[in-house]
Symmetry: C3
């Protein structure tokens, strides 16, 4: 593994997106005690969803995992905005909500797309507890939404 999370992100040919600006009484993250709680993140690229629809209908498990990876990239961007750099936080908990047709039961495999990216970029600091659940519908027709609890770590 490269020596820094920033180098590993670059080796994956990924760049962090902009963190969306706060809107009204709602912001991308909030600090409570030692923890950083993120808002739910959709798999947005420059403000747009590359895909809409549900797992078990329009989308296959691999599609969902790719979108969950994208949501996790947004979570990493929030971590940097909140904590200063990719070296300055660890991931404690992730919840992945997966827009699911009734018979779709691979939410955990979709969520792996998020978990794997966090591990690839952050190493041990990316290893987290996780819940993956199905939902019938998400904002804007997004196929997945991910939220995280982060902890700041000393350099």
């Amino acid at each position: 593994m490269s020596s820094t999370a920033a180098a590993r992100l670059a080796a994956l040919d990924l760049t962090l997106p902009e963190v969306p600006a706060p809107a009204a009484a709602y912001q991308p993250w909030s600090v409570g005690g030692d923890l950083v709680f993120t808002a739910g993140q959709l798999p947005l690229i420059e403000g747009s969803l590359p895909r809409t629809g549900r797992l078990g209908e329009e989308l296959a498990t691999a599609d969902g995992a790719a979108l969950a990876r994208l949501a996790a990239l947004n979570l990493l961007a929030i971590g940097v905005a909140a904590c200063g750099s990719l070296e300055a936080f660890r991931v404690v908990k992730v919840v992945v909500f997966v827009a699911s047709a009734e018979g779709f039961h691979e939410q955990h495999l979709v969520a792996n797309g998020a978990s794997h990216l966090l591990g690839e970029v952050l190493g041990d600091r990316g290893v987290h507890a996780r819940s993956a659940v199905g939902v019938p519908a998400l904002p804007l027709g997004a196929p997945v939404e991910g939220e995280a609890i982060l902890e700041r770590v000393p350099w």
Copy 2:
């Protein structure tokens, strides 16, 4: 803005409801570290739901937002019960679960009903990270359920 959250609540012509009594091994809030975790709150008025049903079926987005506001009023009441007054806590995180028909994708607009009330009453202390997700069904047929993480603040 008025100088206290209590004054702003009064200016909105709102009064805080009673906090429901604990039932069995389940209580309205619990303290962990520096944080207060609330139970999920339905939009109850004196123990009854003013509306039941789902967004995208019986209920329009504006109906849902009004009900989310009501759930947030219950969250404020829990904050006072847990922390002593409206001046004694800030809101860190809110999750709003929205009972949704399959094609309904405005969960975030429904959740704004909760976020806006928290901001109107608590000012900067009401600005939080948030997730909004659809669900097929909630207890008692409630259209929305909201939960929060609060942090006690020094006077």
Copy 3:
């Protein structure tokens, strides 16, 4: 009540299951600040689901409550693995996701199966804030999934 949580668990004729090994970038629990965040737990017995399906379809409320109790037994096992013994933690928050047909509105009664076990075994340390929500589908077709936030307590 018996004098220790371990004795109360034995009096209920229950034994704690093995905690599943970490898989990839995902582990059964993670510590953040003073708190322990668990992964979502399915009602697995030795790695298998005793029942699949949804509440309001194949499963009745009492079935769901029994399965939620089983998920809570897994949460207790994680608490022991994370904190050292049944005497070493309290339960702060529980979220129970209930796989629900559209007209099913007794998610709170299903969740009581988890809450009651935590109270029976841990006494006052098992009393928690809770959210219960419906979902259309869960990993592997599980009828319920439960996650918890725990706090370590001094002996």
